[in-house]
Symmetry: C2
Subunit: 349 residues, 2 copies
Amino acid sequence: MKRPTIADIARRAGVSKGAVSYALNGQPGVSEATRQRIVAIAQEIGFNPNSAARALSGASARAVGLTLCRPARMLSIEPFFMGLISGFESELAARSYALTLQVVATPELEVEVYRRWWGERRIDGVIVTDLRENDVRIQVLQQLQLPAVVIGGPGDTGRIAQIWSDDAGAITETVRYLVALGHRRIARVSGLPDLLHTQTRTRAFHEVCASLGLNEAVTVPSDYTGEEGGRATRRLLIGNDRPTAIIYDNDVMAVAGLAVAQEMGLAVPGDLSIVAWDDSPLCSLVHPPLTALTRDIAEYGAHAARELLAAIDGKQVGNVEAGAAHLTPRGSTAPPRQPGSAAPAQPEP
Amino acid sequence: MKRPTIADIARRAGVSKGAVSYALNGQPGVSEATRQRIVAIAQEIGFNPNSAARALSGASARAVGLTLCRPARMLSIEPFFMGLISGFESELAARSYALTLQVVATPELEVEVYRRWWGERRIDGVIVTDLRENDVRIQVLQQLQLPAVVIGGPGDTGRIAQIWSDDAGAITETVRYLVALGHRRIARVSGLPDLLHTQTRTRAFHEVCASLGLNEAVTVPSDYTGEEGGRATRRLLIGNDRPTAIIYDNDVMAVAGLAVAQEMGLAVPGDLSIVAWDDSPLCSLVHPPLTALTRDIAEYGAHAARELLAAIDGKQVGNVEAGAAHLTPRGSTAPPRQPGSAAPAQPEP
DNA sequence: CTCCACCACTTATCCGGTTCAGTGAATTCT
DNA sequence: AGAATTCACTGAACCGGATAAGTGGTGGAG
């Protein structure tokens, strides 16, 4: 079954290809009567303009690209990326832009994908996640003049737009909250240490701990997976001066940490309080439900998509701050049980 | 910065556009020396063939489409889809096919997306998930003659290739295992009831239960979300003849069910055994870790992508069975505690 | 009544590849 | 040696739209 072209419409309407093009694109140059006739025929035969032909005559590809540079096993469990993708989609679909996805192994391969996509005119712009320090991708994007939006700062992205949330503020708020509950030994299990937002969080965490006189604050680097998060937790909890509260850089590690604590016979939140960064249904599913730093990830993604579309349209976009994460207290945080004091009544079996 | 075209290469090499095209595509018609000279120039100036121009001259778009028809909040937590996407990618990237993604609200919108993509020549084929009974999408795909692979059968897909795993066998194995442990009252919390694979599982579940003389077998329909899964579990557990084992159609609901059981003071696995369909890191993260029906979802996706690429190449592909899920016993299943007998020692706090 | 502006189109060109039908020169065959 | 074939390449058409330039007819202004 041959797919119809404007030539088919032109033949049936008894006009030229050019007239059809004008009519379908709402350009002046055809009478209203003719336009309606042409539109009706296009409807009837189910015409869709060939995107390749359009793109070839100078129009944009009407697609944006996203590369994901994490191992498959991390992607499948992390609710973050799917949330982000849903957010992108909500904006892109409304303007009928397609989203092209590629999973890559390394940042170097990622820039290769950018080069290829851009060279092939396959996409009009890209969304970059997981900003690193002196990120190779930034230079390449600038050099290619490929419209882009970077998520995961704040960082130095030159002329490229970025969108970030105030992670430093969020972690400061969290530490203050835990200290207010009475915690003095607070630890943190972080995400991949070479990501810029991990560094931002780490810096802010240690600053606020120092300012509050918490000298034992420690950050254990991890990689967002449950296994690593569990291992890191075990390492933290076997020490003599074990922390009474742990902040995790994502929900998956927090859930894993919870399981480790329970397996070691520690009561949560009595013996150990837990805070997860990024709230997902996961956090409310487990028992006790986890106190979390909630962000609207889909909205974050939608915001990024809007910025990217603006950049593609040639508008100047800069450094945008999205809504910061805010603390959602649930059952996993409480004042620490005093050593030697009786265990508070637990609703657990 | 203007992106280079074959005309640029032709000028620099002192040959015609046609010669460059032959050289870069490994076609006969140029001498080996010239070919190498042309390839070197292409390398040097960073040439990538414009995919639109290629697609326009009859070549394929080198992209496949995937639509996801589930609400965003389900997508973000379900590890299934990300696993599937990772699997697709591993095959597609190897043959440098792009994956185009779209989140849609309804199956009707989904067929609109197919029509548009195909009409625009944006994609060469699609992967269809969540097969339903008398699925509208099947007819449309056949009518459009759009190459496709359907996941989520087995079902009637006419000439369209499908790939499925033996869910009936897997659930039969699971029930037999639970019965062997001593369970007699087994319930099931299912996924969306209008999905074909849900119906397959339900039918098989009730058949095996009947054949084993389990007359109280009940399936509670749900929707894959944690909230619904938790609610369904609560409903099952408040009855007088509460089940001693529950099988969940996905991991998210199983984790939610676990939380509900613990919150109601039931010991898992002593009072209630839990089996999750689809093993994800989630299942081993919680405490106790969940017995699960393990499938290699990424491999499932990779397999589907291979079939689709074969279909795009015009090869006849039919009805392919992928590896079935197999039971991975973990801590959440055990013989049911006899009513009145002493509770076995629990390692929990 | 003439000239010009305007409308509603048509014609032609372009985008950047692919591909087919030549073309001249070198090589092979008879 | 002359004809036939092969080789290495050129020129042009083509894919399906967008768009600039051109065309004939109409209406109003001068």
